[in-house]
């Protein structure tokens, strides 16, 4: 089919091996940023922008000519490893690079060199943030493109190690303690995943997702492998009740690190779980209901904790637990009639939560910077009101709650529609309850922002617009705007969707 070969009719970039490049580029940049600390900021931002451009080009290519497979080393599966890009993967690539860019711009200011007054701990943060972020980016991109369970395992390890590095960046004892728990949890998770890979290989002699997906019969060994892998991923995604490590790890990290951990890292393992669930394994109804119930538990438990805690950062971290639970409801819905709609909703919720939560953590970081604390009790007593950061927080909250026209609204709406089409009223009820609970806990800080009656003395608003507030604000605007501009992402998601008969692309 020579007329459909993109290389004959499009510019040179259409022939490049972009899937390999989006993994290799951040890797080389990570080494460069480690080698040349003085140029790390430029390398980091430049590489993120380049990866973003490459991801967008890849997405455009996908929209034009369908899903892609590149066989690494020229070896076809099952012997070799293939990188597979479908719409879901491309959407994650673009979102990751985009959010990384905005968080990176925020970080380039908050970790700026301060010259002689710089404390050793600050210098460490400034020097090590960039290699760690670039390694994280490489790990995430490798994960999105992977179509091989053992390859997923190694990508998860890169992700886990760089995430722990980011979590302990501040060097404070509380962060280190949380980071160690995070490392242990993550290691246990990946070992459980590896044990699942063990059983898969022992039973089928295959590790590539294409061969595994072609197996129809769920033998006991395959079920065991699926359960073990999902259990490992559930630890890494912090699905209730395996979320024990998350609140401390996310709330004790520095603001840009928290933003990346909460927006992107937990989504990496969730992405793998969703892919294994939808693409590879035959539907297992009982297991899906169990995961859905755990998700419901996460919504209730995470929300209740978010209503009880007294630190703003901890509230945002517990909100992640609840939101992860909401997304995990999709596992109970995929084999029903509205499965595809629910799946689209879950993917959109992943994207919306990534944008909103990174905006929120950055905004909280700015608020804490202004006030010198992040205590919820004292918010409404403060005469100082960091206006733009509060606006960013509120906008992000709009998307998290799911008010129209935000991206969170669209995701939640699609998930609800899927559940209603399947007559799954239990899950509809859980989603409505979750929305009410999220309003309840997010109103705690927002009402603190808006109350002035307990302030002693005149209220001070920062008069000048600080450039540092632009990045959380930008992310919050993205979290809203993605709801309005949903046509392109949704049509991208349809490329190579697991719910339609796959078309073979050479």
């Amino acid at each position: 089919m020579i007329w459909s070969d993109p290389s004959t009719m499009t510019p040179e970039i259409m022939t490049w091996d972009l899937p390999s490049l989006v993994v290799i580029l951040p890797l080389l940049a990570a080494v460069a940023a480690f080698l040349l600390p003085s140029a790390a900021v430029g390398i980091g931002l430049g590489a993120t922008a380049l990866v973003g451009a490459a991801s967008s080009a890849l997405a455009a290519r996908l929209l034009a000519s369908g899903p892609e497979i590149s066989h690494l080393g020229g070896w076809t599966v099952p012997l070799g490893i293939a990188l597979r890009v479908d719409g879901f993967a491309a959407l994650m690539l673009v979102t990751t690079a985009g959010i990384g860019m905005l968080v990176g711009l925020a970080a380039s200011r908050s970790f700026a060199a301060k010259g002689a007054t710089e404390a050793p701990a600050e210098e460490r943060q400034r020097l090590f943030f960039w290699p760690l972020w670039l390694l994280l980016l490489a790990g995430l991109n490798a994960l999105y493109l992977s179509s091989d369970v053992f390859n997923i395992y190694i990508s998860l390890e890169i992700l886990g190690l760089s995430a722990v590095g980011l979590a302990v960046l501040s060097g404070k004892a509380a962060a280190l303690r949380a980071g160690l728990t995070y490392l242990f949890a993550g290691l246990l998770g990946s070992l459980l995943f590896l044990l699942g890979v063990d059983y898969l290989y022992a039973a089928t002699g295959r590790v590539d997702l294409a061969s595994l997906g072609a197996i129809d019969e769920m033998t006991p060994a395959l079920s065991m492998a699926l359960v073990l892998m999902l259990a490992g991923l559930a630890i890494k995604t912090a699905l209730f009740p395996l979320h024990f490590w998350l609140p401390a790890a996310h709330s004790n990290a520095t603001a840009p690190a928290s933003a990346l951990l909460s927006a992107l890292v937990v989504k990496g393992s969730l992405y793998v779980a969703l892919r294994l669930w939808v693409d590879v394994f035959a539907p297992t109804a009982g297991l899906g209901t169990l995961i859905g119930l755990l998700g419901a538990g996460a919504i209730v438990w995470g929300s209740i904790q978010a209503m009880r805690v007294d630190r703003l950062k901890l509230l945002v971290a517990y909100s992640t637990v609840a939101q992860i639970g909401l997304i995990c409801l999709v596992f109970a819905l995929t084999d029903e009639i509205g499965g595809e709609t629910a799946w689209q909703g879950a993917v959109y919720l992943i994207l919306a939560h990534a944008a909103a939560k990174s905006a929120m953590f950055l905004a909280v970081g700015r608020i804490a910077e202004h006030l010198g604390h992040d205590s919820l009790e004292r918010l409404h007593r403060e005469p100082l009101r960091p206006g733009m950061a509060q606006v960013a927080f509120a906008l992000a909250a709009v998307s998290l709650i799911g008010l129209p026209p935000s991206a969170g609204f669209l995701g939640k709406w699609l998930l609800l529609e899927g559940a209603m089409r399947a007559d799954a009223w239990l899950w509809v009820g859980v989603m409505v309850l979750g929305t009410m609970l999220s309003v309840a806990y997010l109103m705690r800080p927002i009402s603190g922002f808006l109350r002035f009656d307990r302030v002693e003395g005149p209220v001070i608003m920062p008069s000048r617009l600080d450039a540092a507030d632009l990045w959380p604000l930008g992310l919050a605007v993205v979290a809203i705007a993605m709801g309005l501009l949903a046509a392109t992402p949704l049509s991208l998601l349809a490329v190579g969707s697991p719910f339609v008969v796959p078309e073979v692309v050479p």
């Binding site: 053992f150 190694i154 390890e157 886990g160 190690l161 722990v164 302990v168 060097g171 004892a173 280190l176 303690r177 980071g179 160690l180 490392l183 242990f184 290691l187 246990l188 070992l191 590896l194 044990l195 890979v197 063990d198 290989y201 022992a202 590790v207």
Partner: protein
């Protein structure tokens, strides 16, 4: 009973012992060792799956997996131990201050 199955059971027992101690211990160093024993059990399962009798050559793919796994594990262990040492230094300096 085949040799491979025998060694697989050995690997499963290692996993059991490791998980049991991992859950019950609160000591950080012991937790690291337990995770390493857990990994040794998983690796033993793979090596046993690769064994195809005394005459046939063993399956090299699981061997490559285990080699990779060993390097990944020593890396993660080194990170955990560096964290433990750093935490210990910090706690020590707090002890001295008060």
């Amino acid at each position: 009973m085949s040799t491979a199955l025998l060694y697989s059971f050995g690997g499963i027992l290692l996993i059991g012992v490791a998980l049991h101690r991992l859950v019950l211990t609160t000591d950080l160093l012991r937790r690291v060792v337990a995770l390493n024993v857990f990994a040794a059990g998983i690796a033993s399962l793979l090596i046993a799956a690769a064994y195809r009798g005394p005459e046939a050559a063993a399956d090299p793919v699981p061997h490559a997996f285990v080699l990779t796994g060993i390097v990944v594990l020593v890396s993660t262990t080194a990170a955990a131990l560096a964290l433990i040492r750093r935490l210990d230094d910090l706690e020590r300096s707090v002890d001295h201050d008060t």
